[in-house]
Every structure is written in structure tokens, then in C-alpha cells.
């Protein structure tokens, strides 16, 4: 796969291979995220979608290949990568359960000055008004849907330039899934924020994304505009 380094490139990966002590998971992954993209990263369980996000985030070091973000090589620990403008909402959400909702949100604005963080806090609550009633409750006692909203809100508190979402609909009731989908649509439209969504829920992914990357056995097996996500591709790479 060729990577087009045009001026609209937000993130590009070329030949990225990575894995864990038990073995390599990603094999020569190349792709590009352009300004305005919402990319659905799809594939069956265990093909390496989460590993790819963790690799972008610096939680796993690539064995080879290179990732560039806004024209600069992406390197260093996760904290440096977060500071460069990539926000990550992991599978399972990873809310700080001992912190209040308010504290959780402000944890997302590590580099922001107090006034700026307060402004972002207000705008995040406009996206997620349901959190307003729970600001002083501990994050650990919220429902799954509330935690997911909190996790996305916390990611937005850092004013990211790229958002990585890992299975945002996992274990969440359908009406909240629709709500989260609407909010992501609004966030994308108002901020122009590029997003990579790892998702098993195809309806959700296809409703939000303009492009798709389909993974199989640690490689990109198919990619293209979301309109090109044919029944054949779905049958070949997604159906169990």
C-alpha cells in the first residue's frame, strides 16, 4: 500500500510491525489518516486492531516501520505522544474510578492553563450534558454508558488533533450508542477532528466513518471509502 504524503496528512504509518513478548501481532501495516477523516478500523477479534491503536499511542514500541504525526516522527512514551495531540479512549474506558467525574475530565487537560481547561470543561459538558448531574460522583460508580461518555469527554479535554476510539459501543445499551454516535458526529463536524474508530458494531462504524481499514492477521486486508465496503469484504473479513 502506498502512503500519500499530501498536505492533508494527519497520521501516516509505513511498514509498521509490532507485538508482544509472546509474538508479533502487526505485520507491515501502512495507512494514512487525512484531515477530516473518520476511519473505521474493522476486522474480526484478535486481528490486531487494539494493538495498532496501542502502537500509535506509544504503549507498544514498533519493531520496525515508522509512524508520522503531522509531519513529525511519532516516538517516545505515551505521555509525549499524548502531548503531541493524540487522544486515546481505550477499550474498557479506563476511567479513574477513585476520581470524581469532574476530576476525571480535568485529568484530560494536563497541558492546558486553568482558564483554557475551564472553557474546555464547559464545552465538553455541552456535548455530554448527562455528565453534569454526576460531576461530584466517583467515576467508578457510573454506568458503562456514562463512563464511555466520560472517557470521550476526558479525551476531548486535551483538545486533540486526532482521536483514537477503541470499541466505544462495547457493552452499552442501544439508545446510548445512538447518542454517542450523534455526539461523535457533532464533535467531528464542529472541530473537524480526525477519528480512528475500532468497532465491531458495523452499523455504528458505517454511520460515522468516511473510510474504512479492514484488518486480517495483523495486516491491512482491504481499505477504501466507506461506500466501497461491500458485502463481499464484510463476508470475507468480518463474518465469523
Amino acid at each position: 500500500m502506498t502512503v500519500n504524503h499530501n498536505s492533508g496528512s494527519v497520521l501516516s504509518a509505513v511498514g509498521v510491525s509490532a507485538g508482544y513478548a509472546a509474538g508479533r501481532v502487526l505485520h507491515g501495516i501502512s495507512f494514512e489518516v487525512r484531515a477530516g477523516d473518520v476511519i473505521a478500523l474493522i476486522g474480526r477479534n484478535g486481528v490486531g486492531k487494539t494493538t495498532l491503536l496501542r502502537c500509535i499511542m506509544g504503549l507498544i514500541k514498533p519493531d520496525c516501520g515508522r509512524i508520522e504525526f503531522l509531519g513529525a516522527p511519532l516516538a517516545g512514551p505515551a505521555s509525549a505522544i499524548a502531548s503531541s495531540g493524540i487522544a486515546y479512549v481505550p477499550q474498557g474506558r479506563d476511567i479513574f474510578s477513585d476520581f470524581t467525574v469532574r476530576e476525571n475530565l480535568f485529568m484530560g487537560a494536563q497541558r492546558a492553563k486553568k482558564g483554557v481547561a475551564a472553557e474546555r470543561f464547559d464545552s465538553v459538558l455541552e456535548y455530554f450534558p448527562a455528565l453534569r448531574a454526576h460531576l461530584d460522583r466517583r467515576g467508578g460508580v457510573l454506568s458503562g454508558g456514562q463512563q464511555q461518555q466520560l472517557a470521550i469527554g476526558r479525551a476531548l479535554m486535551g483538545a486533540p488533533k486526532l482521536l483514537l476510539l477503541d470499541e466505544p459501543t462495547e457493552g452499552i445499551q442501544p439508545n446510548i450508542v445512538a447518542h454517542i454516535s450523534d455526539i461523535l458526529g457533532r464533535v467531528h463536524e464542529s472541530l473537524g477532528l480526525p477519528i480512528i474508530i475500532v468497532e465491531q458494531n458495523l452499523k455504528f462504524a458505517m454511520g460515522r466513518a468516511n473510510r474504512f481499514l479492514c484488518m486480517q492477521k495483523g495486516s491491512i486486508a482491504a481499505c477504501g471509502d466507506i461506500g466501497e465496503l461491500s458485502e463481499d469484504v464484510i463476508a470475507k473479513y468480518l463474518r465469523v
Binding site: 512514551p77 499524548a82 487522544a87 479506563d94 479513574f96 474510578s97 477513585d98 476520581f99 485529568m107 497541558r111
Partner: protein, 286 residues
């Protein structure tokens, strides 16, 4: 004055000493999950620094306490950078490494200052009376120092961005890093802070203890059991367990031999941990 009030007062003084000596361990063991077998040696470094500043350099005792916290804290930060950071999440290696550090520190001080005991003069002399009993005024300094230190660390950990960063790393290190928190720098600061508190404890208690190179060993187990009973990462819990352990030992010691009193308290600790394995003030987690 009856024996009970006297023993309660003595228990308060002992609890304050125990609390001062344990606070650093709440940070290093409770929040960073590092079993630091050299904890007592950082107290020893504080005591020696206080001796040097007050007895050799002849500076005021306040300078000795500040200097002790600074020296122990900086030394702790260096130890974290050079040794401890390589062993996070590796329990056995951490035990061995910190045990080695404790021996090395003891021997270095033995070589540098001999095994001769050092005396740190009481900065506050005289006594105060309650009823017919007279207690040393300096005991009040230790109580005030312990209360101030607990207040300081509670404010630091629960009301400042640094404290929230430490607590975030404790709850979920990867996620904290993914939000831009520099976990490595925070670790160094936390470990240094824990050692600074140990150094402060060494300095404040130096005038009522004997300062010598192997003094650290006696602090280690007392601090460890206090922190575990308190709930490992809880400052208030450690304050409560310091009071519970010291007051029980002191009050029981008024009615029986101190040896029996200590045995009863240790059995009590075992029973507490049998029924509340995470300590008295452990947080309920969902």
C-alpha cells in the same frame, strides 16, 4: 494523676513518632507499590544530616530539619533514577535491590562517621505539666511536626495537580500516560518526597533517639506494620493505625510488662489483617 492519662499521653507521643516515620512509606509502598527495605536508612540519613547541621555546623535546628528532608529527598530521587525505576512491577528484584541499598548506606555511614553514637541536642528544653506529671516540651514539637506533616501530604495529594497525577498513575499507569502525564518524572518526585519525609522524621526524632549507622533497621518493621494496618495508601488510615498501635502498647504497658503489651498488640494486628486484609482504611473498589 492516674496511670491511664499518663499512658495515653505517652501513647500520643509514641504515635506521633511512629506516624512521622511511616508517612514516607505510605507514598513509596502505598502509592508506588515499592517495598523499600532501605526506608529506615533514609530516616538514618535524615538523623545524621540533622546531627551534622546542628552539632557540627552549629546552625539552628529548623535548618537541620529542612536540610535533612532536602538531603534525604535528593538522595532518594537519585536512588529512584539509578536503581528503583529499573525494577517497577518486579517485586523480588525490588526487595533485593532495596535491601542492598540499605546495607550499602549503613556501611558507608559506618565508614564515614564510625559506629560511634551521635547526640543531637534537644532544641527545646524543659517540661510541661499535666496534673502532677511532667512531660518533655520537645514531645509537643514531635506531635506538631507529625500533625503538620500529615496535613501537608493530605493537601499535596488531594488538592494539587501533582497529587492527582500520583494518584492517577497508581490507579492506571498506562491511561495516566495516555493523558500526557510524565509517569517517569512523577515517580522520581514521589520517591524523593517519600524519602524526604523519612529524612524529616529522622531529623525530628534525632534529639530523642540515638543516632548511629544501623539505627534504620528498628524503624522498618514498625513503619511497615503501621502502614499495612492503616490501609497502605491512606494517610489518615496510617495516622489512625499509628494512634491505635502506640496507644494500645502504651496503655497496656501501664498495666503489664512492655513485652506482653507488645505481644498483645502484634496479635491484635494479625487479627485486624485477618478480618480486614487491606487494612482499616482501605478503599472499597467496584
Amino acid at each position: 494523676m492516674g496511670i491511664l492519662p499518663i499512658q495515653l499521653m505517652n501513647g500520643l507521643f509514641a504515635a506521633s513518632t511512629l506516624l512521622l516515620c511511616s508517612l514516607g512509606m505510605v507514598i513509596i509502598f502505598g502509592n508506588m507499590n515499592v517495598v523499600n527495605l532501605a526506608h529506615g536508612e533514609f530516616i538514618m540519613v535524615g538523623a545524621y544530616t540533622a546531627w551534622f547541621i546542628s552539632a557540627v555546623a552549629r546552625l539552628p535546628f529548623v535548618a537541620a530539619v529542612a536540610g535533612a528532608a532536602l538531603v534525604a529527598g535528593l538522595f532518594g530521587a537519585v536512588v529512584e533514577r539509578v536503581v528503583i525505576k529499573r525494577f517497577y512491577q518486579r517485586f523480588e528484584e525490588t526487595l533485593l535491590a532495596t535491601y542492598a541499598i540499605s546495607i550499602i548506606m549503613t556501611q558507608i555511614f559506618r565508614l564515614g562517621f564510625s559506629s560511634m553514637k551521635k547526640i543531637v541536642e534537644l532544641p527545646v528544653r524543659g517540661g510541661f505539666e499535666i496534673g502532677s506529671m511532667t512531660f518533655p516540651k520537645y514531645n509537643l514539637v514531635i506531635v506538631a511536626a507529625a500533625a503538620t506533616a500529615v496535613g501537608f501530604v493530605c493537601l499535596l495529594f488531594y488538592k494539587t495537580p501533582f497529587g492527582r497525577r500520583v494518584r492517577a498513575i497508581r490507579q492506571n499507569r498506562n491511561m495516566a500516560m495516555c493523558l500526557g502525564i510524565n509517569a517517569s518524572a512523577t515517580d522520581t518526585l514521589s520517591f524523593g518526597l517519600g524519602c524526604a519525609l523519612a529524612g524529616l522524621a529522622g531529623a525530628v526524632t534525632a534529639p530523642v533517639k540515638i543516632v548511629f549507622p544501623a539505627m534504620g533497621a528498628s524503624y522498618l518493621m514498625d513503619s511497615f506494620s503501621t502502614v499495612v494496618v492503616g490501609g497502605v495508601d491512606s494517610f489518615i488510615g496510617t495516622a489512625a493505625s499509628s494512634a491505635l498501635i502506640s496507644e494500645s502498647t502504651s496503655v497496656l504497658g501501664g498495666f503489664m510488662s512492655e513485652v506482653y503489651a507488645q505481644i498483645i498488640v502484634l496479635v491484635g494486628i494479625i487479627l485486624i489483617l485477618r478480618f480486614r486484609p487491606s487494612g482499616l482504611f482501605a478503599k472499597e473498589r467496584r
